[in-house]
Structures are given as C-alpha cells and as structure tokens.
C-alpha cells in the first residue's frame, strides 16, 4: 500500500505541485472561530469556499485581522528548521506595514490553511513568500480604501506605517485594529487576491532582508514547544508496529493471543499490518515482542550493497523516463577531440536521519480523523489518509506542528497511517514514533547513483565534448553550466534495491560531485589550473561571481602553492534551483589511518535578494557540514534485505569534532527575485573535498562517500 502511494509520490515530486494555493477550505464561521480561538476572529465570511483556481483565492483564505489588531496569516507550508516561519511572517509584515510581532502565522493545518504544496524543492521563497506578500499587500490596499471611504478622501492621499493609516494633509490616523472593529473588513477580504498588486521593492524592504528570529524560538529553548512526537491527547495510548525481518518478507502466520492477554494492550492485525498499543511505549514494545516471537515470515532474496553499483548498471533502462538532452553533436565532438577522458563515479544510498524520526498522533471522533504528524505535505497526506480509510478528505484533518527536521525525507505519512489504524481499533488516540532503526530501515533513502562521464578536449585544451549519464539518481542539475559545443546528458532509471526519494537538493549533489570532479580531471589532462580552466568555460555571471568570491576569500592562488603531500586544497562550483554556489576547501590527509580531515571550508553563495540573513547563514553552514557527511562517511550498507548499519553506531554523521573552520560569504544580488537557499549550498562540498584530496595525493577518489583506504597506498 505504502509502496504504491509512494510510486505516485515520486512522480508528483518530479513535477512539483502548482505553487498557487488551491483553497478547499469549507468551514462555517463558527468552526473557524473555534479553531482560531474564540472572540479573536472577525473577518471570516460565512462558509468560506474557494474554488480550485488560482484567481479565486480570497484574501480571507490567507489572512485575518482580529479585533485586538493581531493579524493571523495562514500557510500550508511547514516549519522543519529551514526557517519558513520567520520568513513568511516577515513577508506578511513587510507588505502590511506592521511589526513582525503583530503577525501570528498558522502553518500546515488542513482545516485552516490553503494548500501551498509540499514544503520541498526550495519553493517557499520563490512561490509562497510572493503568494503571502500578494495577499498581505491586497489586504493593506483594501484596508486603506476603507479608510479613504470613511474620510471621503482619495486613496493616494493616505500612507500606511506600523498598522496605522494616516491622511497626510489632516494628520488623521486610523489603525487596522480600529477598522477591524468598525468596518466590514470581512466583506472586503472576501475579495480575490490581486495578482498585479505592487509588492515592496527590495530597496525599500524594512522587515524582509533582516535577521528576524524564528517567532517561537523561546519555546524551543524552554522545551515548551510540542513537536509531533510530543503531542499528548486525553486517554492516549502509545503504539508499536511489527516490521518484517527483511525487505519483501511476507507474514505467513502469527499468534496474537499472548499480547491480547496482556492488561490494557490493544493488538491489531489487518493483513500484513500488525501493531500494538498500550498505555506506555515500554508496554507496547513488550506486547509487540511477544507477538513478534510467534510470527513466521516468507522471505525473498534481495541485492546487497556490495553489488549495488553493478546491479544499477546492469538494470539501467536507457530510453526510459527521460530523453537525453543534447546540443551540438556528441559523436562529432568526441571524434574531433584530441584527448578523450572517460570516468565513472559512484554515490551510495544515504539516509536523511532527521533528528525527530517519523511520528504522529491519531485521533478518531465521530468518523473523523485528526492527526498531528511530522510530514512536509499536510494536504497530500490528508489525501493519502482519506484514500486509505475510504473517507472523504473533509473528514481528515492533518496538523503539522513545527517538526524536528526532514531534509526531504518526510514526504510520506506512514506513521500517521499506522497511528490511525491503531487508534481506530483502540477507539482511543494513539501516539506512534518510529525508532531510529525503523527510520533507518523503512523510511526512504537518497538514491544511489552510477554516473558515467566522457569529455573531449581540443588541441588548445578547451572542452568541446561532454557526455554525462546518471543512472538511477535523477536529473537535477545535470546540465553542465559550462560553455561546451557538444553536450549530451542523460538521466537513466534503474532497479533501485532500496526505496528512494527526495533529499536536500535531490540528485544535484551526485551530479555536481561527478561533474566538478571530472572538470578537475579534465583540467589536469589539459595541463590547466582548476580555477582558470573553469573560468575559461564559464559564462554565467552569477556562477563566476561566487567562484571568484570563494577563491578570493580563501586566497586560492597562495594556498594552492602551499599544497603538500598531506595538505590539499580543492574547489568546486555549481548552480541549482536558481541559486549559485562555490566552495574552496583545505583537507588534511592521514595516510596511515586512511583518513581525510576537512580543515577549512570557504563557501560563497548567492540566491538573489537575501530575505533573512541570519537564517540563510544557518542554512549554508548546515548544508556544508551535512554535505561533509555524504562526502566522507555516510553510506547505507545492506544485505539479505536488511540494513546492516541501522543506527548511529554504524552510520556515521557529522559531529562537533568534525566541524572545520567555516567561512560563508553571502552575496546579496538584488537584481533578480529571491530564490530558496536551504539546499543548493550542499552541492559544492563533496567535489571540492575530492579535488583537494587529489591535489595533495594524486589519488582520485570517485565515490561518495570517499573511502580513505585508497590513500593508504598513496
């Protein structure tokens, strides 16, 4: 079941959902008031019902002004640490001309918010921020017009500052709060959000562009915030689910009687689904252990990670999903080349390991299901749950409390579905939190890849042919940003032994690793300096800017001269999701132990006008260190349908001791619209490390993670 849903998911995530809200809010005024807090809400029109089309989204579906002057803004986006809560609050505050603390942002509650699509693909900044800004600017205009009518003056004679509308000539003022009390704001907000409303230009930003802290930060340091796994409902039980011993295993028989005899324990079997719920998770685990002992399974064979790359190659399906993209003639380019290089790169499966594993609380009442879940697409999980339980979507409410990270790993609502099954049988709310081992085994993985590259240089050492094939991981950022006359790129599907899906920056990391490593190899073959070789083929001014900035701040030419057999420097650049990144790194090599230690990372990043510099810095730092994990140590090992390193003991993620010196240079490019910045900064780090290792040792490591063992012989 989950697998089927997931297959659909993979498709839908390739073609991102439309970004404009598809409002399907069908609520009476009464229930709205109940949900948002009695007495506060005044602007909801009776039975708000907004059609599916973008032009029909009303201001009311996005924004309310309460009698006390606080403003409630609604979005389907989730907060998982990437900073959307602050940023969307800023967006509304900027256009409404109010301080951020006047805004209350309601996120990811299907009963209240418009569908802003999944929180993925760095889409919040380019899509949802503008959507919220348009709604807020429209609201500001509507309110200003109400004031103009009241004073019988022309709208153009009025100014808005700090939630107060002022008539310059007479110095009369009126506040939003006062308007909300006295005027038919509800009637006004029933209007459609204007698509052509003027948004505040970047050089006039007062709230956007500043390091506004996340509004609920205090609750994070006091422990008051309730993450999905922290939700407690009256009379709640804790659940545990029986997992197969290996992938593809099917349950043949099981004896539930022992667990059923345990006090206060609820045991559920529905086909392959077996789970227990009890007043404590300890008790639920004991009950599950009792039934697990009696289970007999039919297992199937499954490839192992030792044979992963040959398996992917053997099962590659060229001519599948996507067509090659070509420019010029790759055959001619390779034939004309005076030197042709050919290399293969490999990227292992890795796991997101979000700090909070999948978790959900499910509660049934009068045939309606409410779940609090750690997922990044509330509306899509709502649809999945409605399908699973064969009830209309209106009877399912999904709420996503700000959750404990995701990195693209929480597209699917397995825990929500499992909790709902248990809750239905128990007739009590059930909380279910996956164990770390479950998260490591039954969540999905970042796709493994085999990437085949062929490059041709002419007699002058210029790149004239580029043939690049990614098997299994996907086509993100597969196009080279370099000027090359003859190019062919292909993303080829294969038979993935593991369930795979989105991850921070998707396949862009794999593709950029191969491309930027291969660029270094080509530079060496051409007898060129790596930075000069790139710049000679690079026209994109934005990438040139970040590359030159990183090199300058790192002092590339000097550091390059100081390379020894144990200390290397390397660089890499790239672009994805309309943002640009370049990194220079220094590594130290411990040959005896076969270890690579990153000493210093200097990264320049540009994603248009910076909306929240404090948060963007966190995102870039986080990407750099997370990228080091995939580059150096993270790798899922599996055999016989089991994950062999399903815990932090065997799966090594970056820790404090691994943190290098990090310099981040954020470039504020105000000439274009803002792009998201939480993903692309990850793609330059792995190839820069590989290139640094090569500079020191002459050993080219063509795999992620880079296994240092190769260095022992160097």
């Amino acid at each position: 079941m989950i697998r089927d849903i997931f297959a659909k998911k993979l498709e839908s995530q390739r073609s991102e959902r439309p970004d404009e809200p598809r409002c399907e809010v069908e609520l009476s005024r009464r229930s709205f008031v109940q949900l948002l807090g009695a007495g506060l809400l005044i602007t909801v029109t009776e039975g708000v019902s907004v059609g599916r089309r973008r032009q029909s989204a009303t201001v009311a579906a996005r924004l309310h002004i309460n009698k006390d002057g606080t403003i409630t803004v609604m979005t389907g986006k989730v907060e998982e640490g990437q900073g959307s809560r602050a940023q969307l609050t800023q967006a509304a505050a900027e256009e409404l001309r109010v301080a951020v603390d006047r805004i209350r942002l309601v996120m990811a509650d299907t009963a209240l918010v418009p569908d802003d699509g999944r929180t993925a693909g760095s889409r919040t900044t380019p899509s949802t921020v503008p959507a919220v800004r348009r709604a807020a600017a429209t609201a500001r205009e509507l309110l200003t017009r109400l004031a103009a009518e009241q004073w019988k003056v022309d709208r153009s004679a009025l100014d808005v500052r700090n939630g107060t509308i002022k008539h310059q000539a007479t110095k009369q003022t009126i506040t939003y709060a006062y308007l909300a009390k006295t005027k038919d704001v509800a009637g006004a907000f029933a209007q459609t959000i204007a698509s052509d409303v003027t948004l505040t230009p970047v050089d006039e930003w007062e709230v956007l562009g500043t390091a506004v802290p996340r509004p609920n930060w205090r609750d994070l340091v006091t422990g008051a915030h309730r993450y999905p796994s922290d939700i407690v409902r009256p009379n709640m039980l804790y659940g545990k689910i029986l997992r197969p011993p290996s992938y593809g295993a099917t349950l043949e028989s099981i004896d539930l009687s022992k667990a059923k005899a345990m006090k206060d324990v609820v045991v559920v079997r529905d086909g392959q689904f077996v789970g227990c719920a009890a007043p404590s998770s300890f008790r639920a685990a004991q009950a599950l252990e009792a039934v697990a002992k009696t289970a007999s399974w039919k297992t199937v064979s499954h490839p192992s990670s030792k044979d992963l790359f040959s398996h992917l190659k053997k099962n590659a399906r060229p001519g599948g999903r996507t067509r090659p993209r070509t420019s010029g003639s790759i055959d001619k380019g390779l034939a004309d080349a005076s030197k042709v290089l050919e290399q293969t790169y490999e990227v292992a499966y890795i796991q997101h390991t979000p700090m909070e594993p999948r978790a959900a609380v499910a509660e049934w009442k009068d045939g309606k299901l409410t779940v609090w879940a750690g997922v990044d697409g509330p509306q899509s999980v709502q649809g999945d749950l409605a399908g699973t339980f064969r009830i209309p979507s209106e009877r399912v409410r999904v709420i996503v409390p700000d959750m404990g990270s995701g990195f693209g790993g929480k597209h699917t609502g397995e825990a929500a579905e499992e909790a709902a099954r248990l809750a239905r049988a128990a007739e009590r709310p059930v909380s279910l939190r996956w164990t770390r081992a479950e998260e490591f085994t039954w969540a999905y993985f970042r796709p493994a890849a085999v990437i085949e590259c062929k490059g041709g240089l002419d007699a002058n050492g210029s790149l004239i042919a580029w043939d690049f094939t990614n098997i299994n991981a996907g086509g993100s950022a597969i196009e080279p940003p370099y000027r090359i006359a003859n190019v062919r790129t292909r993303s080829v599907s294969s038979d993935s032994p593991l369930r795979q899906g989105a991850y921070r920056c998707l396949a862009a990391t794999a593709n950029n690793f191969a491309r930027e490593s291969f660029m270094d190899e080509l530079a060496a073959a051409a007898g060129a300096e790596p930075l000069a070789f790139r710049l000679a083929h690079l026209e994109n001014p934005r990438i040139r800017t970040v590359l030159e900035a990183a090199a300058r701040h790192f002092d590339w030419p000097t550091r390059k001269k100081k390379v020894t057999a144990d200390i290397g420097v390397g660089l890499a650049c790239g672009t994805e999701k309309n943002s640009c990144v370049a990194a220079c790194v220094e590594v130290g090599i411990d040959r005896k132990r076969g270890e690579i230690k990153v000493h210093h990372v200097c990264e320049a990043f540009e994603c248009g006008p910076i909306q929240n510099p404090g948060n963007l810095l966190s995102q870039v730092q986080g990407c750099i260190i997370m990228g080091m994990g995939g580059a150096l140590s993270e790798e899922i090992q599996f055999a016989d349908g089991r994950i062999l390193n399903a815990g932090f003991a065997g799966y090594r993620v970056p820790r404090f001791k691994d943190v290098p010196k990090i310099d981040v240079h954020l470039i504020n490019n105000t000439s274009i619209p803002s792009a998201g910045g939480g993903e692309t900064p990850i793609i330059a780090i792995a190839p820069a490390i590989a290139n640094a290792v090569f500079a020191a040792t002459g050993v080219r490591i063509r795999s992620m993670p880079m296994r240092g063992a190769a260095l022992k012989q160097a």
């Binding site: 907060e79 998982e80 640490g81 990437q82 900073g83 390091a211 802290p213 996340r214 930060w217 205090r218 994070l220 340091v221 006091t222 422990g223 008051a224 915030h225 309730r226 993450y227 796994s229 922290d230 407690v232 804790y238 404590s280 998770s281 300890f282 997101h352 390991t353 979000p354 700090m355 909070e356 594993p357 700000d402 959750m403 404990g404 990270s405 990195f407 939190r433 164990t435 770390r436 404090g614 948060n615 966190s618 995102q619 730092q621 986080g622 990407c623 750099i624 260190i625 997370m626 994990g629 815990g647 932090f648 003991a649 993620v653 970056p654 820790r655 404090f656 001791k657 943190v659 990090i662």
Partner: protein, 156 residues
C-alpha cells in the same frame, strides 16, 4: 515486576511506579509529560535525551528508571527560574543556535553540565564534551558560539 521509585524532578518530588528497566526518558515523557526531553536514537549516541541527574549529564534513553531512584533530575523545563532563562538558554537565543530545535534541549543541558565543571572551556573541550550530541540540522557553528557566549556570561 513494577517498583516504586521516588525522585525529584525540576524541584518536585515524585513517586513513580514502573518497570525498573523502563528508560528514564519514557517515564519523563509519558508519565510526567515532560516532553522537552527528546528521543533521537535510543542507543546513547545522539544526546537528544540528555538530562541532569544530580547535576551531571546523563542520557535518559539508556538510563533505566531504577537508577534515578532518590536522585534529583533537571530537564529542560526546569532550567529557567520563573520567567528568567538560564544563561545557556539565553545564549542559544542570542546566537540563534537552533534550526529545528529538536536537539536543542539536549544541547543546552549538556552545555550546562559542561560549564558547571569547566566554566572556561576551550573549543576543543567543548567539542569533546558535546561530541555525543548530534544536530542533524548541522547547526554546530552557532551552537559552539552559544556555548562560548554562555561561558563568558557565566564568568562575568
């Protein structure tokens, strides 16, 4: 067989009847509803479940509740004094040292215990002491800043 354990949690005396093997983490979260203490791995390798037991940092996921008998426990909920936050909490806010914040309670309590025994740690000492604490948002640079800032504040 369930046993009765008495312990003081955030200044309040409690008597808990539970299986002695039950992790302290589960008792805090499920019996006392102190959900600020987080589960991250259950194997003692992430530090999300850190609490103070008689002033020392312990990993509550691998601490059977029986070991907490007659002990004093401080969780993240018990760190502030009324409305005034502990200097380490304040430092985390001042440095913006959280992304998702799920690791934050464990980070803060580990830092509190560290600064208690070593009020002026070097960066290496901070990294060594806090190495078990994972931040999967990889917010380590700002967390380090926060611990340094708290150390300065505490010394003044």
């Amino acid at each position: 067989m369930d046993v009765t354990i008495s312990l003081t949690v955030n200044g309040i005396e409690r008597a808990i009847t539970a299986d002695p093997e039950r992790p302290l983490l589960d008792v805090l979260r499920e019996e006392l509803h102190l959900t600020g203490t987080k589960y991250g791995c259950g194997e003692g390798r992430c530090g999300a479940c850190s609490v103070l037991m008689d002033g020392k940092r312990v990993l509550s996921c691998v601490t059977p509740v029986a070991q907490a008998d007659k002990k004093t426990i401080t969780t993240i909920e018990g760190l502030a004094t009324g409305d005034s936050l502990h200097p380490v909490q304040e430092a985390f806010l001042a440095e913006g040292a959280m992304q998702c914040g799920y690791c934050t309670p464990g980070m803060i309590l580990t830092a509190v215990a560290l600064l208690e025994k070593n009020p002026d740690p070097t960066d290496e000492e901070i990294a060594a002491e806090m190495n078990v604490n994972l931040c999967r948002c990889n917010g380590y640079p700002k967390i380090l800043n926060a611990v340094r800032r708290a150390a300065e504040k505490i010394q003044r």
